[in-house]
């Protein structure tokens, strides 16, 4: 039972109930805007875990990962909004979004099979830009994506009559849309973690690590490196696609502006900062890099209070601190905040 390596059932139950109660605590203590930030953070955890499959497990540097997020988001937006006047059920859209993203993953992987490191990074970076430019320009001659204006009035997540866009009460507790999205995102994150953990400790995960360590030796051991690399791209992309679907339904509005190079870079930073290839570290990285920048919003009003004027724009400060954090990381903890320990963990013999 690989999924339960770190905790016994009771401990897991405790963690899960804490996670379910968390949104109420956050809303009460910090306010509604922080609950929204938490929801977004969960999406980033999914994205970072997806990218970790490509970069962490298989060792393929991908600087255009946000493209798969975009593919998922646009799949949802086009299939559930007045834009094309289609309102497909969610249970259809999410698999379609995941599959489309996986196809795009293969489309990116296939021509880049021979590339590694810097060269692969450059091509994937270009791919991310191509997708964004496409989305920006697919409004002529036929208007598909509505160009830079983006797509509005996207349907909220809904399963038959139950819409995540409205509040519901259950046993005297009111669940607002933010609560409901939190819970559904949490469910998706837990599934993503489970899949990541199981893949990592499987024959497929071993083959990915072998390719990462020494591609030539991996081939000589009978590993079909082409197929396994494509599989890594497709798996990682499909996580991104699902996250994109959820994002579109959550925001109700998307435009190409949400899918820029800097977003790909941020997700890569989450993976690297947290601990490349280590699931716990990647989750930590995603949470820190979503939540910490938000705390800087308070810096503006704080300066106003103390000095009577705003000296440093919080937006500038954000990039400054971010850069500083990365430099410090590379100096002090080059393998990430919470790296994988090499000698323990995966080798305890549990045997199912």
């Amino acid at each position: 039972m690989t999924g339960l390596r770190y905790a016994s059932w009771s401990r897991q139950l405790l963690i899960i109930s804490a996670l379910i109660v968390a949104p109420f605590a956050i809303e009460m203590l910090l306010g509604r805007s922080w609950l929204r930030i938490t929801d977004v953070a969960l999406l980033y955890v999914m994205l970072a875990l997806g990218l970790n499959i490509v970069v962490g497990f298989a060792g393929l540097l991908d600087l255009g990962y946000i493209a798969f997020f975009a593919v998922g988001a646009y799949s949802y937006a086009l299939l559930a909004s007045p834009q094309l006047a289609i309102h497909a059920p969610v249970l259809v859209i999410i698999p379609v979004g995941a599959a489309l993203a996986a196809l795009f993953g293969i489309a990116l992987g296939a021509p880049t099979l021979r590339l590694r490191g810097d060269y692969l990074a450059i091509v994937t970076l270009g791919f991310g830009e191509i997708i964004r430019v496409l989305l920006n320009n697919l409004n002529r001659p036929i208007n598909i994506t509505n160009g830079p204006q983006g797509i509005t009035r996207i349907d909220p997540l809904h399963i038959s009559q139950f819409s995540f866009g409205h509040s519901h009460s259950l046993g005297g507790i009111t669940f607002t849309p933010l609560h409901q999205y939190y819970l559904i995102f949490l469910a998706f994150v837990l599934i993503t973690i489970l899949i990541s953990v199981r893949l990592e400790h499987s024959r497929i995960g071993r083959a990915w690590r072998a390719i990462r360590d020494d591609e030539l030796a991996a081939q000589a051991m009978g590993i079909h490196t082409r197929n396994l690399k494509l599989l890594a791209f497709a798996m990682g992309a499909s996580f991104g696609g699902v996250a994109g679907c959820l994002f579109a339904s959550f925001q109700g509005f998307i435009s190409p502006e949400s899918f820029q190079l800097i977003d790909s870079v941020m997700i890569l930073c989450m993976v690297v900062l947290g601990g490349i290839g280590h699931i716990g570290g990647v989750i930590l990285g995603a949470l820190l890099l979503t939540i910490l920048p938000e705390t800087l919003r308070y810096i503006g009003p704080l300066q106003q209070q103390i000095f009577g004027t705003v000296y440093i724009d919080p937006a500038d400060l954000r990039m400054l601190l971010f850069g500083l954090a990365l430099v410090l990381m590379m100096l002090l903890r080059p393998r990430g905040l919470w790296p994988k320990r090499q000698l323990t963990g995966q080798l305890t013999n549990r045997g199912g």
Partner: protein, 260 residues
């Protein structure tokens, strides 16, 4: 050592050629490896031994010539297909999976002989769990077989040099090969380690696996090999028993330089 008559060909190379630009690394090499033997492949530096290994294991494609393994043509096969056919190899400059433990390295070696895929892993099916368990046990067994039984949890890159070489052999054996191709397994080993290696090689052949051995340690070659093939400047120079090779004037000339 008992002389065995080896008559069934396992690997047959005929007129293999491989050029790199203006350099002809293999110039019409033909030779045969028979089932059950340890066949040595020797020659001075630059003779084309490693190139020949890379052609046999599919890392290079020969420009011309044929390669038959157990009767099947393999000269156009991809490396992973070669492994599936039953040829496993080690590398002259050790190529282990450095971040993985010794046990995991051997487990990777099973890749071609195992089935479980993505869905099996995600749903953690009974078949997948059983296969994993079996791979783990066999791998531990192979480590013990190669004298690394208590190093299972050591990260490969942290093993001593001689252990790394034996780990490469264990990993190759995990692919259940019919032919094990070893590229200088004794390089950098001291006398004790070489003796252990010799015993291991003899044990592997007695278990029915044929060995093709590139080696510069002549005393090892002369002790373990049933037959020796000599390459020089990309050409097949001689083949025969170790005794015949040692007396062959052409071989002596190639190694010591000809006076002509």
């Amino acid at each position: 050592m008992t002389r065995i008559t080896h008559s069934t060909p396992l690997l047959e190379a005929s007129t293999l050629c491989k050029r790199f630009g203006g350099l002809t690394a293999l110039d019409g090499v033909s030779f045969t490896v028979y089932q059950g033997e340890i066949c040595g492949l020797i020659g001075p530096n630059g003779a084309g031994k490693t190139t020949l290994f890379n052609v046999i294991t599919g890392l290079y494609t020969a420009d011309s010539g044929r390669l038959l393994f157990a009767g099947q043509a393999i000269h156009h096969a991809q490396p992973y297909q070669i492994a599936q056919h039953g040829i496993a190899r080690t590398f002259q400059n050790i190529r282990l999976f450095g971040t993985m433990t010794a046990l995991e390295n051997v487990m990777v070696g099973h890749h071609a002989r195992a089935q479980s895929g993505v869905l099996g892993a995600i749903f953690n099916t009974t078949a997948t769990r059983q296969e994993e368990q079996q791979i783990r046990e066999t791998s531990q067994g192979l480590l013990t077989y190669c004298g690394l039984g208590n190093q299972a949890q050591t990260v490969a890159s942290q093993l001593p040099y001689g252990d790394q070489r034996r780990l490469e052999i264990a990993r190759a054996l995990a692919a259940q090969p019919r032919l094990l191709a070893l590229d200088e397994p004794a390089a950098g080993m001291n006398a004790t380690e070489t003796n252990t290696l010799r015993a291991l090689l003899e044990r592997i052949t007695s278990d029915g696996i044929t060995i093709l051995l590139i080696e510069h340690d002549m005393s090892l070659v002369m002790q373990v090999c049933h037959r020796v093939v000599v390459l020089d400047q990309g050409r097949h120079l001689a083949a025969g028993t170790p005794q015949e090779i040692q007396k062959n004037p052409a071989v002596i000339a190639a190694y010591l330089g000809s006076s002509v």
